[in-house]
């Protein structure tokens, strides 16, 4: 028990450090401001619509959290670890009494705390904009925001995985590429099963890629979901059970990524 407590304390120390370092970076503040600006713009767009102000604010607000969240997730996931390696700050940390995996997990935990704070902040701003227009930020919106948050956590894990062995730009491009593939997995699945590709090497390869690539579609808050049912935050939406299953998928995939990262003998920090 003492060992676990010690390990958690060490990871938390790294996480707190990472959180402080991240939130004091002006780039993050600018990105959040852009998201807020998009929400503010939805007020203007709402005025142009025909009695659909609330719908516009919800759609653009969630889109803002998602789009800028993805940019922030890529920035954090790629930047924070590679900066440690580039600037060699890691040289002062790794010789301290902690395991390498505790350092890496601590970094990720710090990013999770940072992203949680940012998503919560953007959600509160969205709630305020809805309140101004007389709308209600109900349970459906909370579920949608949690799904976006889970998607961002998974994307950060993927970005961090790439950044542990690749340059920041390449890592960002690869992680963004996987996100695009993951978001469009339904279309790609349909394409792999189409008569053109059926039973061909290309079809098998695409099928394999879709098995490996994280299924970001699972966190998509507007459109067809896994069971082919169309979901929308304005009408039908997923249950808490679905949110929990998406969370379990996120955790399982992140754990798999971490295991893959940690299983070979530790790399030289050169």
């Amino acid at each position: 028990m003492e060992v676990i407590v010690g390990s958690v304390e060490r990871m938390w120390a790294i996480a707190l450090n990472t959180f402080r370092e991240a939130v004091r970076n002006k780039v993050l503040a600018i990105l959040v401001l852009f998201a807020v600006a998009l929400m503010a713009f939805s007020l203007v767009l709402g005025q142009l619509s025909l009695h659909e102000e609330i719908r516009i604010i919800k759609d653009l607000g969630l889109a803002g959290i998602s789009i800028f969240g993805v940019i922030i997730a890529l920035f954090l996931g790629v930047n924070l670890l590679s900066k440690e390696l580039d600037r060699k700050t890691v040289y002062a940390i790794i010789p301290k009494p902690l395991h390498r995996w505790e350092f890496l997990l601590g970094k990720y935990l710090g990013m999770v705390v940072t992203m949680t704070a940012l998503v919560a902040l953007m959600s509160l701003v969205l709630m305020a904009f809805l309140a101004v227009q007389g709308g209600r930020h109900g349970v459906t919106m909370v579920r949608a925001e949690i799904l976006i948050w889970l998607e961002l956590l998974l994307l950060m894990a993927v970005a961090m995985l790439f950044s542990s062995f690749s340059s920041p730009w390449l890592s960002a491009m690869m992680a963004a590429g996987l996100w695009v593939i993951g978001r469009n997995s339904a279309e790609l699945e349909a394409f792999a099963g189409s008569p053109k590709l059926e039973d061909s090497f290309g079809g098998d390869l695409l099928g394999f890629i879709l098995e490996v690539v994280p299924d970001f579609r699972m966190f998509y808050v507007s459109g067809a979901n896994f069971d082919e049912a169309v979901v929308s935050v304005h009408e039908s939406f997923v249950s808490w059970g679905y949110v929990a299953s998406a969370g379990a998928y996120c955790l399982a995939y992140a754990a798999f990524a971490w295991r893959w990262r940690s299983s070979p003998s530790p790399r030289d920090f050169t």
């Binding site: 370092e21 040289y91 010789p95 050169t270």
Partner: protein, 339 residues
């Protein structure tokens, strides 16, 4: 000065056996041997200087000891445990070469984090961070973000973080790097204070004056190979290899002695004297300077000075210095070693 009355050392805190590191680079998988099978021990309570020219393998060795890179072969035992052992790590403090820390953190926040990694409680962390920042002369900047720090200030934070866990073994990679003369003196004093408190200090440097003043023992590494290990007194040759004579006298005597004692350097002596004195006779503000290479020559020269009406100011026998030993081991000229 190294302690002359150092007690017999009881145990080894660091044992390195046949440590080797090869780097494989490029598409052609070209192999570079950075450290080539070195073996030595660092005993408890001593200050051990790890000397070598730039690119000799000092930092690579230290990185292997700290678990930052993996050795190609060989074994390392630190405080009786293999590299990476968590219990042993709690008793080690490490300062990396040219340290860099988090831009947006303050020195106090960073030291708190390091204290947490060592398992210190909040009050002890606060007390130790305050004491250490005061000790390294950073208390005035302790709440400023480290992005505004100069290189010397970062070096001081590096020293403070290395000592945060009150370690038994302090490993310092070029601790004087980036410091001004006052800073260097403060670090020397800090290292001597650590030794007085019974800590073991293992540090690398290519500044020989620092090593000369601090080290109980030194190890000299050149091109990845350990050339010498031992106490300075053992490594430095006790043989007097030249005698410097400072004298004054009239111009006529100067000319006479330059003529009578011209040349006469054998090949080895000339090589040894090369970086100290290009010529045997030199005029200086305090008088005339003459370099003699045998006792007989000293006797004859002194007699000639007195007989010619001159006065002998100073006679200084010169033994081998650490710099000369270093140059001898490195096999290059002293000028090439200085930075």
């Amino acid at each position: 000065m190294p302690r002359a009355d150092r007690p017999q050392m009881a145990s080894s805190v660091l044992t390195i056996e046949n440590l080797r590191k090869e780097f494989v680079r490029g598409l052609l998988r070209k192999r570079t041997v950075a450290v080539d099978g070195i073996s030595f021990e660092v005993e408890a309570g001593e200050v051990f200087g790890f000397l070598g020219p730039n690119g000799a393998g000092k930092t690579t060795t230290m990185k292997m000891l700290m678990g930052l890179i993996l050795p190609t072969s060989g074994a390392v035992s630190i405080l009786g445990a293999p590299v990476g052992d968590l219990a042993a790590k709690r008793r080690i403090g490490y300062l990396p070469e040219n340290p860099y820390f988090y831009d947006y953190l303050t020195a106090t926040e960073f030291l708190h984090m390091v204290g947490s990694l060592y398992g210190l409680d909040r009050s002890l962390r606060a007390r130790r961070a305050g004491e250490l920042l005061e000790r390294v002369g950073l208390s005035m900047a302790k709440n400023r973000s480290m992005r505004s720090y100069s290189k010397g200030m970062l070096q001081r934070v590096g020293l403070a973080q290395a000592l945060m866990g009150d370690p038994e073994l302090v490993v310092l990679d070029e601790p004087m790097s980036g410091l001004d003369p006052i800073g260097r003196r403060e670090v020397r004093e800090l290292m001597l204070e650590l030794r007085e408190r019974g800590k073991t200090v293992f540090f690398s440097t290519h500044i020989l004056a620092d090593a000369n003043m601090l080290c109980d023992r030194v190890g000299i590494i050149v091109k990845g190979t350990l050339r010498d290990v031992g106490q300075l007194g053992e490594l430095l040759s006790p043989k007097v290899h030249r005698v410097d004579v400072l004298w004054t006298g009239p111009e006529s005597l100067r000319e006479q002695l330059r003529k009578d004692f011209a040349g006469g350097l054998d090949e080895g002596a000339a090589e040894a004297a090369e970086d100290a004195e290009a010529e045997r006779h030199r005029s200086r503000s305090e008088g005339e300077h003459f370099v003699a290479h045998s006792q007989g020559e000293v006797d004859r020269f002194l007699a000639a000075v007195v007989a010619g009406g001159g006065a002998v100011v100073q006679v200084t026998p010169q033994r081998e210095t650490l710099e000369e030993l270093f140059v001898r081991d490195a096999g290059v000229k002293a000028e090439e070693q200085r930075s």
